[in-house]
């Protein structure tokens, strides 16, 4: 692609005239082509003032509630119950005898945990943080599209950019001990789709596959 062709394509993407397949291909290409991503960003800045030509209009009253619901799909308690038996950590007191058994056998309770959800709010990964280490266990079969990799990120509360915790290995379980950050309550954990070898920019470039926020696991 010549620089002129690249720039023309970036301009048409920002303008919105690319068809669905072309727009998707360009989004994919941006993940590995920094010059293309730069050209798109420059066109976004050039044309941004045009958004002011749209007539402001009040959205329907229930819309905020719907957005909030999508961001908090279920009360925390319900999320917790789901994976317990898989990991032998003891559910709420289902049966006293079973609970006693689990308490004896279980590792020390996790300090923090979350369930990473897909964009359709389906549970995909159980995340536990104990001390400095983050443990992940897949709750179902995970498939990454061919030629791409899944990359794990953490965004501590108050931070402006996520930190890479490395690529997600194949197989259901793994642990990471980040060098530069400590697991903390409110920390966002996300897995994004990236080009082979991981994000070339040090920041997520692909779509978020799974996301969740660490919460203290007290009360279990």
């Amino acid at each position: 692609m010549t620089p002129e062709e690249r720039d023309a394509l970036a301009a048409e993407y920002v303008l919105g005239t690319l068809e669905a397949r072309e727009a998707e291909a360009l989004r994919d290409a941006m993940a590995t082509d920094a010059a293309l991503a730069e050209a798109v960003s420059a066109w976004e800045r050039r044309l941004a003032p045009l958004s002011a030509l749209a007539q402001p209009e009040a959205p329907p009253p229930g819309l905020w509630a719907r957005i909030e619901q999508s961001l908090n799909p279920a009360p925390m308690r319900r999320q917790w119950r789901f994976p317990w038996p898989v990991l032998g950590l003891g559910a709420s007191a289902v049966a006293a005898g079973l609970a006693a058994f689990i308490v004896l056998r279980a590792p020390p309770p996790p300090a923090m945990m979350t369930v990473l959800l897909t964009s359709r709010e389906q549970p995909a990964w159980l995340v536990e943080a104990r001390g400095d280490t983050i443990h992940l266990a897949a709750l179902n079969r995970q498939q990454v599209e061919p030629g791409r990799v899944a990359q794990l990120w953490a965004l501590p509360q108050g931070a402006t950019a996520p930190t890479s915790l490395g690529l997600v290995p194949e197989g259901g379980r793994f642990s990471v001990t980040p060098a530069s950050i400590r697991p903390s309550p409110g920390m966002l954990i996300e897995i994004t789709l990236e080009p082979p070898g991981g994000s070339p920019t040090g920041r997520p470039t692909g779509p978020i596959l799974f996301i969740g926020r660490l919460s203290p696991a007290s009360g279990t």
Partner: protein
């Protein structure tokens, strides 16, 4: 930093109240951006929903050094609306008689922000031939596809494509 930029920084840190404050401050403007593209309140609601879920998850990606927060928000909503328009095969009513004139009429460029960026873009747009400018505005503001613009301007698709491309090239040179 603007209020919206400060709110985005708080959202990146997981502050859900900041997201609600941002919604309250920006949703009327942003719903207008989605409505201009989709012209259907239900579809525009879906766009605002998808866009705000994205904003909540991606707020940490906003870099104040690269532009205004308000522009970044409109970009996120526009892409969400365009994705919906494409999924529907852009089967969106375009027989609205006012559609062509509203954004494409040069006098309407008055609503462009009077700040430096808005004023420069306006001057450059006003320097374009009428149909080049209309094509660009119908695509960006109203989300029309090449065939839809061709039908509206009563020009062959190939002509529309090359005029828009030429218009964008002139804009880039003018804005340099």
């Amino acid at each position: 930093m603007t209020d919206a930029a400060l709110l985005l920084a708080r959202i990146a840190g997981g502050d859900r109240n900041a997201l609600q404050a941002l919604y309250q401050a920006q949703s009327v403007r942003l719903f207008g951006v989605a409505m201009a593209i989709l012209r259907d309140r239900e579809a525009a609601s879906d766009a605002l929903h998808d866009g705000f879920v994205n904003i909540a998850r991606r707020a940490g990606m906003f870099d104040p050094a690269l532009g205004r927060a308000e522009a970044w928000l409109a970009t996120v909503i526009r892409y969400a609306a365009l994705d919906i328009a494409r999924r529907r095969g852009r089967e969106i009513p375009t027989d609205d008689a006012t559609l062509g004139e509203t954004p494409a009429d040069a006098t309407q460029l008055d609503t462009l922000a009077a700040d430096e960026d808005g004023a420069r873009l306006r001057a450059c747009l006003e320097g374009l031939p009428e149909k080049n400018r209309q094509g660009i505005l119908l695509a960006f503001v109203n989300g029309l596809s090449h065939p839809q613009i061709a039908a509206r301007l009563e020009l062959p698709i190939g002509t529309v494509k090359s005029w828009i491309r030429r218009g964008l090239l002139s804009l880039r040179e003018c804005l340099t």
